[in-house]
Symmetry: C2
Amino acid sequence: MTDLRDIESTPLVTDLYQLTMLQAYFDHDMRDTAVFEFFVRTLPAQRRFLVAAGLEQVIGFLEDLEFGAQELDWIGRQGSFRPEFVDYLGKLRFTGDVHAMAEGTVFFADEPILRVTAPLPEAQLVESRVINLLHFQTMIASKAIRCVLAAPGKLLVDFGLRRAHGAEAGLLAARASYLAGFAGTATVLAAPRFGIPLFGTMAHSFIEANEVEIDAFERFARSLPENVVLLIDTYDTEAAAAKVVQLAPRLAAAGITIKGVRLDSGDLGAHARKVRRILDDGGLRHTTIFASGNLDEFSLARLLAEEAPIDGFGVGTRMDTSSDAPFLDCAYKLQEYASRPRRKRSEGKATWPGTKQVHRRFDGEGIMRGDVLGLEGQGGEGITLLEPVMRAGRRIAPPATLEAVREHAAAELARLPPELQKITGSGQYPVTISSALRELAYMLDARPI
Amino acid sequence: MTDLRDIESTPLVTDLYQLTMLQAYFDHDMRDTAVFEFFVRTLPAQRRFLVAAGLEQVIGFLEDLEFGAQELDWIGRQGSFRPEFVDYLGKLRFTGDVHAMAEGTVFFADEPILRVTAPLPEAQLVESRVINLLHFQTMIASKAIRCVLAAPGKLLVDFGLRRAHGAEAGLLAARASYLAGFAGTATVLAAPRFGIPLFGTMAHSFIEANEVEIDAFERFARSLPENVVLLIDTYDTEAAAAKVVQLAPRLAAAGITIKGVRLDSGDLGAHARKVRRILDDGGLRHTTIFASGNLDEFSLARLLAEEAPIDGFGVGTRMDTSSDAPFLDCAYKLQEYASRPRRKRSEGKATWPGTKQVHRRFDGEGIMRGDVLGLEGQGGEGITLLEPVMRAGRRIAPPATLEAVREHAAAELARLPPELQKITGSGQYPVTISSALRELAYMLDARPI
């Protein structure tokens, strides 16, 4: 067993067949330019649009792509790879161009959000990790933005690390939900990595480690006087709210304000109403109520519909796992090789061939009115969504700040047709396939293979 | 932004509240011994047992737990943490004991699979990552073993990296599915990391990059003569099978055998029957058929029920995301502090208090007959499932090899009651709560808090 580079950057986070195909490309000198596109074939039942995310990590991965000495050594010892191929791998870098939709952009089925134009082996090799990165963040951003739609104006915080699928999922879910409009995350690493604001209170274990609940509240408040949010559902929620009221004057005397309380179990709406009354009657009108526990866009919508007096929500597991749609039917497919368009015809998985572009039209109010999926260079009405982001293996511009991406996502949300701004409903956004693209597909199907 | 240690080992893969609680523990000198246990509260609808996995990664994490200089510096700059606390964090290591079920062990709701006994701050700090590691691998092993049950004797390979939730999920899904009985994975990094056998063929892009399908087959076979598995569904599956037959003598003359073909779309059973006939009629009786595409235990069971002539399966997305149950209702809870048992009473989330043990009884044939969840030291019939694995912060024995874990999981499967060896059904395994444990819970509920 070799200890290799860290999991976020090693090129061994790939499928074996990328390496075997690369050896065959090498042997047969297949190094012409290939065009691959990443797209989602069909949207999950409970999504009517998706939000592009993960591009920044893809660009970083492509810029840094390189096999290290230990990795090459390991590949060389496998028996199936010849020394001259391993040498070639050692020199391989990503030298291609990338076009992409900006992170935070709304998109629909069949629309590519990333296009890689590069020598075939380079474009092929990166497939597994490019999908792995784009798929996850796009899925989470698309789930998170539904929470934002369901709870407009509420403070939303990502609480999902513990049940996210591994450390990278936890970290990138924090990023994807923040860009979709969350206020921040509890995941610490997201702050030094991405500058995302952190939120956190206390766990039940803190309460339980103290003999008496009110002592736990007081100790926590005195240790962290700037951010006193007390968890009140460990034993009896309303009794604990009364203790908060009882404690408040003593803390106030020390200059400490109880900023909020957190509910984490039971009927959150019912508890919030009772707790709000107890706090208000106790003179704690400015103490906010924060709720967590099994939340998603549907429970948020219910709580808002019943006007539960809750100021903010911690949304965890169901968002970080996109639990109602834990994968997207996405693909990264060869669309053109050596200037010839390609098309897979597999049943149920046929793809639109050629190098494509998406045009989007808006009405006078700036609301999205329809997209056309066509061939690049064919022209069309409206703005084009795929723009160059890398040329000859290097990024064209400095990374967009996460704040800018977040603003773009918010602007996209405002441009959505009102029907799509609801978390349920049947209205579909119109995406048309251009006639030139249809003709190309038809022509390719007639080609002998 | 600071570039910190790699994501698999940094202690910043945690929730902010662990750090805030630790400062409060520090301020109030709460360093007595705490007992935390990890367990699953309720099983997902489509699971009647789970398989413990992820312990090895937890032990590694606990042994290496340490804040680095950059991490401490970053924490110190946040404003809410006092210098003396940051100094204390710098010296903090995990010095506790761990008891656990061996990886690969079958377990049920409410049964702890891990117990941490350590000074409160240490046991608290590790919560987020311990859950993150145990939850994911346990969920995947429990899904994977259902595929093994559904397709006994078939070659099963993990194909899930691309849609796994990030790189770590892809890597650890390869490990969890292998220990559950899969033959291997396509995820390259799993081989140098864990010694897991790799499998791989070719992608549609390889076929499409060649003008003519049969050329693609021949080029691939000549480049990788030891492992010729040809993907035949890019255009027309049966036509491609005929090309394989046509190509075989030419390759045979070069000493190359076509080991298998792969189907990846359409009605896999129907295609497999037609392809089997074409291959058999063409004299390729030993060429195997491998299938992939949207598989899970249910589709595997259907294909086996219809006796589809398929020799092996690539199982990807639905396993690596545990798509029908993408999270487990698990928790890591304080059960005892300073020798006093603790119990959370939150609605729907009450826990069994105290330091617990699981006893398991078997019948004369060695089949599991029932478990008792009781208090440690209370005694009971049958074997105990929680055994010491770390003492004073160090592992007690060298890591179990992954092969040994895999054998243990297979033995566990054989010991399951026959009713639970089916992927559907209603029989439940009997888990009894000991009367001593019930009495303790009752007594604690009467305690004033």
